[in-house]
């Protein structure tokens, strides 16, 4: 016999009650765990993906849309900007570097991004196989793209307009896979990288291809295959890194007021988005806390009412030599084991649900979510649950401590 065995037997004697209490608590904990996993990973992704980007410049429109489109590649472009204007901005004295992006096409839901090698180095992307894209219509695939589309080096494919899987296909020009990147845990994993002029080619309905045959005499800073004086070519956006802190004050204002373009700061827009999302998360979190509170109450009631049934047991145990503190300890342990098990199950359940979600839904995989990481908050939850257990069993334990053996035994 031992305290643990005794408690285990009491649990077994009230399977349903014990099970329900554990279930109730674990549901609340699972919900909080899921929120923690989502929030933390989303935040990590967001900071990772906007690292090195101080400002995004694009066509006028919603600044949030511009950020979502140009940094996270989840929304449609706000429009295009003239290459000549972008070039001028790239040469601005407050700009450390500027990376051009030309968007518009996708393959099986994965976006084709026309850009240069500065973009892949921004995310420290490494080759897993093959080579970097170099000539027009050559592409290098992000790791998730390669995994989900099963494209290999040397394969040809046609892109479709827009971001959907079944957009209108451009069948005139086929892309060829030149290389595949290693997994970087950033948005690059989900992108198909190519040159800017490839994207133009796909959309070359009106503009003549003739200019691209000979090398330009004074090439554009951003796209070297084009004359700097070109007034027709357009790109979608420009990712900018400031040269110094003064730029943060001057550059956005300059762009927004003096040019036809719009500048948006990823940090600012993300903070705005998070306060918007935060309301929903807070509501869910509140609901989870209500669940936990109810389960705490239910554990308290269970312990308290079982105490009535067990007053005889306790008096008998005292008559067999059990000390007051042993009874106290037993009840406290009972409560805390209950909450500990409930919390552990809840944590496991939260990870499991995310794991299943990531496994079954392409979106989960694309978003780069994983169920295999643990956060410090989870340890806090575990400790907090044990504290909750101790708290809920405190009053019943004090009652057990005070049980009057003589009265209980004589009253039969």
């Amino acid at each position: 016999m031992s305290i643990q065995l005794l408690i285990w037997n009491y649990f077994k004697a009230k399977k349903l009650n014990t099970g329900l209490n554990i279930l109730l608590l674990s549901l609340g904990i699972a919900m909080i765990t899921l929120l923690i996993l989502f929030n933390n990973q989303l935040e990590e992704k967001m900071t990772n993906n906007s690292k090195g980007i101080d400002l995004v410049v694009g066509a006028k429109g919603s600044p949030l849309q511009l950020i979502l489109c140009a940094v996270f590649h989840v929304d449609f472009p706000t429009g295009n900007i003239k290459l000549r204007e972008a070039d001028r901005l790239a040469k601005h004295r407050l700009v450390k570097y500027a990376i051009p992006l030309a968007l518009g096409d996708s393959y099986q839901g994965f976006r084709v991004v026309g850009t240069n090698r500065a973009y892949s180095s921004l995310y420290q992307a490494d080759l897993a196989s093959g080579d970097w894209w170099e000539k027009d219509l050559e592409v290098t695939l992000g790791s998730s793209v390669a995994q989900l589309t099963k494209l290999k080096v040397g394969d040809h494919f046609e892109s479709a307009h827009g971001l959907t899987k079944d957009g209108h296909a451009h069948d005139e020009n086929k892309y060829v896979v030149k290389g595949i990147l290693k997994q970087s845990g950033t948005v690059v994993d989900n992108l198909i990288l190519t040159t800017i002029s490839s994207v133009w080619k796909e959309h070359a309905e009106s503009s003549s291809d003739s200019t691209m045959q000979q090398l330009p005499t004074s090439p554009s800073l951003l796209v070297s295959s084009v004359e700097a004086s070109d007034s027709i070519r357009e790109i979608t956006s420009l990712l900018i890194k400031y040269k110094n802190p003064i730029a943060a004050i001057q550059l956005p204002r300059f762009i927004n007021t003096q040019t036809s373009m719009q500048a948006a700061s990823p940090a600012f827009e993300m903070a705005r988005l998070f306060t918007l999302l935060g309301v929903g998360a807070d509501a869910l979190m509140g609901f989870a806390y209500v669940l936990i509170f109810i389960s705490g109450l239910s554990i308290f009631i269970a312990l308290y009412s079982s105490l009535k049934e067990r007053r005889y047991d306790m008096a008998i145990m005292r008559s067999m030599g059990a000390s007051r503190s042993l009874l106290f300890k037993t009840i406290i342990l009972e409560g805390s084991i209950l909450t500990f098990v409930g919390a552990s199950l809840g944590l496991a359940f939260g990870h499991l649900v995310l794991g299943v979600f990531v496994h079954l839904m392409e979106e989960g995989q694309k978003a780069g979510l994983t169920a295999g990481v643990f956060y410090a908050e989870e340890a806090v939850i575990l400790v907090g649950s044990v504290v909750l257990g101790v708290f809920c069993s405190l009053l019943p334990a004090i009652q057990a401590y005070r049980v009057d053996i003589h009265k209980v035994l004589a009253s039969n």
Partner: protein, 213 residues
């Protein structure tokens, strides 16, 4: 083994005005002796047993167990003493219903802080004819069997004093005979002092030594 001197106890009624005082005769019981504690309902039998077992503190008087005045013991020492030296048997199944027969018996050495020997459990159960009930749950036992398990639990730690409060009043004649016989037998075998409080007339002929309240 156990001796009392000038023992009295006072109960205060709820309203606190009336108080009820019980004066107990002095007694001295040695190991291997068995006594019947007789008295009408309300005469104070249960009260006396609880005083002797240290479950209740007396108003006046002295209780000595193995020459130690139990008033001098702290609460924890009293718990220890109770666990090691005294075995209680109560009127009704005061067994822990969440546990099996075996674990109910093992609670005694566990709570007394002694080694738990399963052979001892087997031995005691054999002696009380409960061998096949070792792994049974308490609700699977008859009244008589439950009372025998209670006796088994009372003697498993080889106590020097066994206090039984109405151990037979819930039993029919056959079980009553069996239980008192067993109680007497195991007490003698373990060289323990036995005090049985009862108003059960069926027992009067069974034990010679009698204390009347």
């Amino acid at each position: 083994m156990i001796a009392t001197q000038g023992l009295t106890h006072r109960y205060h009624s709820k309203k606190g005005v009336l108080s009820h005082e019980i004066v107990f005769p002095d007694l001295a019981v040695e190991r291997g002796e068995s006594f019947l504690l007789l008295g009408n309902s309300g005469s104070g039998k249960t009260t006396l047993l609880h005083l002797l077992g240290g479950l209740l503190r007396p108003l006046t008087g002295k209780i000595e167990i193995e020459k130690i005045d139990i008033a001098s013991l702290s609460e924890t020492e009293l718990d220890r003493m109770r666990g090691r030296q005294i075995g209680f048997v109560f009127q009704r199944n005061h067994l822990i219903s969440a546990l099996t027969v075996k674990n109910n018996l093992l609670m005694a050495p566990f709570l007394a802080g002694e080694k738990q020997h399963e052979e001892r459990v087997d031995l005691v159960l054999d002696e009380l004819g409960l061998r096949e009930k070792k792994n049974a749950m308490i609700f699977e036992l008859s009244q008589g069997q439950a009372q025998r398990v209670a006796i088994a639990r009372a003697i498993i730690n080889k106590p020097s004093l066994i206090l039984a409060d109405e151990p037979t009043s819930a039993l029919d004649d056959k079980n009553c005979d069996q239980v008192i016989e067993l109680l007497n037998k195991v007490a003698m075998e373990n060289n323990a002092a036995l005090i049985v409080a009862t108003h059960d007339h069926r027992l009067k002929s069974r034990l010679k030594n009698q204390i009347i309240l």
